[in-house]
Amino acid sequence: MAKIQLKDVYKAYDGKEVLKNINITINEGELVALLGSSGSGKTTILHGISGIINFDLGNILINDQIINEVPIQKRNSVMVDQSLLLFPHMSVESNIAFGLKMRKKDKRYIRRKVDELIELVELKGHEQKFPNELSGGQKQRVAIARALAVEPNVLLLDEPFSKLDINLRKNMQVFVKNLQRKLNMTTILVTHDKEEALSMADRVALLIEGQIMQYDKPNKIYERPATKQVSDFFGKRNYISGTIKDGSFITKLGVFKTTFKDCDNITFVLRPEEINISNKSDFSINGIVESKVYLGDKIVYTINALNQELYCSTYGSKNFDLKSEVFINLDFKNAHFFK
């Protein structure tokens, strides 16, 4: 358990920049998600921290000590790969004991530690089994127990749940999150799944093309994105720009009352769930339903209003037909904006 810092980290492969100027601090006991699409450099950061690769420039600090030159086996930053990489020729308990055995720990200590971890990850009764006799979730827990056995400075999870089916994935996310909280384990989770990042992490760092675009609490990064790029990553959103003059916001969609100060150019961000939609004329703007996507818990509509496309979502009980006329209400009171 430790504080991890990356300072001005830079990495290029064959002249192609993978990481540019990465600065990030992960506090002790914090779970940070590195979120990004594939190729954004998130796994490269994990590999650099664990010592599998060296960064070209910049420093890695663990508890304020520079560890750039520490060899991989002494980093004590353990990674759980997405393919888990359990040792197929060793039983569950041998897998878990591996790191301690390599460190030549006392046999009684290893025994006690392994028993403790088996208990912790709920694998009692499976100690003597081999990896190929386990289910997906059990393998996952062995991999995590094996990493935790060596009491690492930081636990690095590289898309650990991506190969599990959806229900199991949800269970494992809760399981790992609880375990992390219980042990106060500094953890970095790499993922491309925004829901996973938002639900598990204490803080989320969004990586786009090797740069950290925003590093913030899940609700902040989702509701108050720093740039349009960040905002776009979390899904389709409505951007409504215009000018503010004497307490009114003037846009192509009409004029709205506002308490904001005068401003020449402002863009408000409205998430689909923030737009109210109705088939009676109680709202000011009317439009036509262009498309409709049924998602079970909600329905997402694309509405053409005054030649501008707006994305709205409603819960399943509200249902509008394609090409029908609807009325929408835009509320900018608490809306997020870029200037």
Binding site: S50, G51, I52, I72, Q73, K74, R75, N76, S77, V78, M79, D81, S83, L85, F87, P88, H89, M90, S91, E93, S94, A97, F98, G99, K101, M102, R103, I110, R111, V114, R146, A147, V150
Partner: protein, 264 residues
Amino acid sequence: MKTKIIFKYIIIFFLILPLFLMVGWSIASSWPWPVIIPREFTLRGFAYTLSTSTQGFIILLRSVILSLIVTLITLIISIPAARAIAFYNFRGKTLIKVLILLPLIVPILSVAMGIHLSFIRLGFANNYIGVILIHVIPGIPYGVKILLNIFEINGDKIEIQGRVLGATPLQVMRHITIPLLTPGLIIAGSIIYIISFSQYFITFLIGGGRIVTYSMMLFPFVESGDRTMASAISIIFILSIIIVLIISEKLVGNFYARSSKYYV
């Protein structure tokens, strides 16, 4: 269905039947055509091969040890070679791949003729060192190719995982690389052993006739048409290979079965 049955009988006729004939010949002193069961029996062949006075048994033992040493050396050379080809990119990788497979294409005899001169100069001719070295050459392509495939299947990620968990490179080798390689080592080792055990002419050439291996014992009898002796020697030849392979597989297999339980 019908073709399957036909194939079955073709296989029996060409592969299994000759073995029965050989067993028959090894204990028959006279077996004229068209008699089905030999008329007179003798244990002359087996007595010659296994008695200590003729040195047959000692030659057999020496050959087994020689081929085991060759197998060990070939595997020790093949492991790092296969690993390097599987995991690293370097200049001339394709060339080295071709060169390693070359002994399959170029007759070993021509290689041995060329090497013979150098061996004489270096003092490797007419002794065991030279014979062991020349036996290693035909085994290398099989060793490297089989282990290369195993390395490519396993990948190096699992070795890196071992490092991340705190193992030194040597520990990774001992606890991860070699155990995962074991199936390949058994297959490659068996093939290398059989190749080495069956070498006749290159042993004769490099050993200068002073080093006599078991397969060399066989040839004078085949040449002179002594079927009883040739069959007896061949049967012991086959049996010795089977016994050595079974024992080594059991030893290697057990060793790693135990090592898995060893951690806790």
